[in-house]
Amino acid sequence: MGIEMMIESFVNFLVNLLLSKPFMEMLTKVIIFPGLMFPLLFVVFAVWFERKLLAKVHLRIGPLHVGPGPLGGLFQLIADALKLLQKEIIVPYRAHKILYNILPLIMPMLSLITIAFIPVIPFPSAGPTNHLVIFYTPYSLLVVLALFALRPFLVIGVGWASGSKYTTMGALRAAYQLLAYEVPIMLSVASVVMVTGSFDLVKIVESQSNLWFILLLPIGFIVFFVSMMAELGRRPFDIPHAEQEVVYGWATEFTGVHYVCVMMAEYVDLCVVSTLITLLFLGGWLGPVLPPVVWFFIKFGIVVVLIIMGRGVYPRLRIDQLLNAGWRILIPLALIQIFLVFFLAKFTPWLLPITV
């Protein structure tokens, strides 16, 4: 009798849960749109798109076979991932066994957590804000940047734990690179925060309803874009894993599952960074005529293309060149932007959106 009652109450509980609107909304948010499904589908699409786009830049054809018609090669990544998941996990003799096995699995988690704090489009919902965001907090920008700042430490840990000279060199390079880009990111974001008076990404986007910040703060946009590319480790700044110098940098020793995780983390980061640039400087989902989702994806796509193109066009910087660029060019430019914001507030205050 007791068991039947328990089962019945449990079933009732489940039915009520599935029928309740807030729960289903949260489930959709977590699993489908801003949550799990969107970045993972983005990874599959982005890898294919990157290969195809770079092939076009090089006047080649690119991946061709696995996939339907003009989308040839789209499922190549899925096939590769399935292959890699079957592979043996080889732990090097000198590796720190526990860290070597755990850290690469944490990396995609850390990247995916970041998405929980990013509002994507307006959507009537039961939460504290009418936007598609998994966890709403008025300090979302700060949280996202803090989570991003955690990533290099994982990289350094991975490089040390692999116990190989190439991984160690890659990790040290990542540490040096951190010095170059972290300060400009914070300073360029500071100008945005000064203009809007809020760390809330929703407010930052809504304050761009008259003028996108790429027009109001162009220098800040350039600094943020370049240093975010350095943060991602995309081609002109892929010093941590430079294939010709250190075999694959800090990810040299990874096989199978670990490699899949590391690569997935990189591409999820690409997704997060593109979203962040879209929200901070390109006006997010704002735009005339078309629905907000379409505007968001148009801007998002343009940013992704720009970031990917760097790999087809520019040669890799040396580490000292990157540090020079970071400290002698990007930081002064970001400071100039901050002073320009002061001048704007003094002389043309009607330009600045104040949403305090």
């Binding site: 786009l53 076009k56 830049v57 090089h58 006047l59 080649r60 054809i61 061709l64 193109m309 087809g312 066009v313 520019y314």
Partner: protein, 150 residues
């Protein structure tokens, strides 16, 4: 100075964007084939009725790729295409024009022994790949400059 510096960053990007919408030089080979050149030679083909076994081809071959073998009561040339340099001298010097060079170019094989072409095998003329596939030509292939970029 700043202008040239900025342009040095923007110009390659602009060039790459232009390349996206351009024609491509790669040909999807197994499905498409490039049009052959006018005087393309290919592998030698033997006409066994015309051949008298005079051994001129074997004497003139620079790589000693030709050996004379007996088939029935006559001798015919046998080609080791692994050694052949496809120069066409054998066909050029053939007194009865029994040898011609029009055998196509898809000769790769998994075993080196299969590259030794006996007279019976030399007779067969495989249809050249160009006829079996869709023939394409690379667009804008300039005659004077060759393949032009950018």
């Amino acid at each position: 100075m700043v202008f040239t510096w900025v342009m040095s960053i923007l110009r390659p990007l602009w060039m790459a964007f232009r390349h996206i919408f351009k024609y491509r030089f790669t040909v999807k080979y197994p499905y498409y084939a490039l049009k052959l050149a006018e005087r393309y030679r290919g592998r030698p083909v033997l006409d066994m009725e015309k051949c008298v076994g005079c051994k001129v081809c074997a004497d003139v071959c620079p790589n000693k790729a030709i050996t004379m073998v007996k088939v029935g009561d006559k001798t015919y040339p046998q080609f080791d295409l692994g050694r052949c340099c496809f120069c066409g001298l054998c066909a050029y010097f053939c007194l009865r024009s029994a040898l011609t060079m029009n055998g196509g170019y898809e000769l790769s094989d998994y075993d080196r022994k299969n590259l030794i072409y006996t007279p019976e095998k030399l007779v067969e003329i495989p249809p050249p790949p160009v006829e079996r596939k869709k023939v394409v030509t690379v667009k804008k292939l300039s005659r004077t400059v060759g393949v032009t970029h950018g």
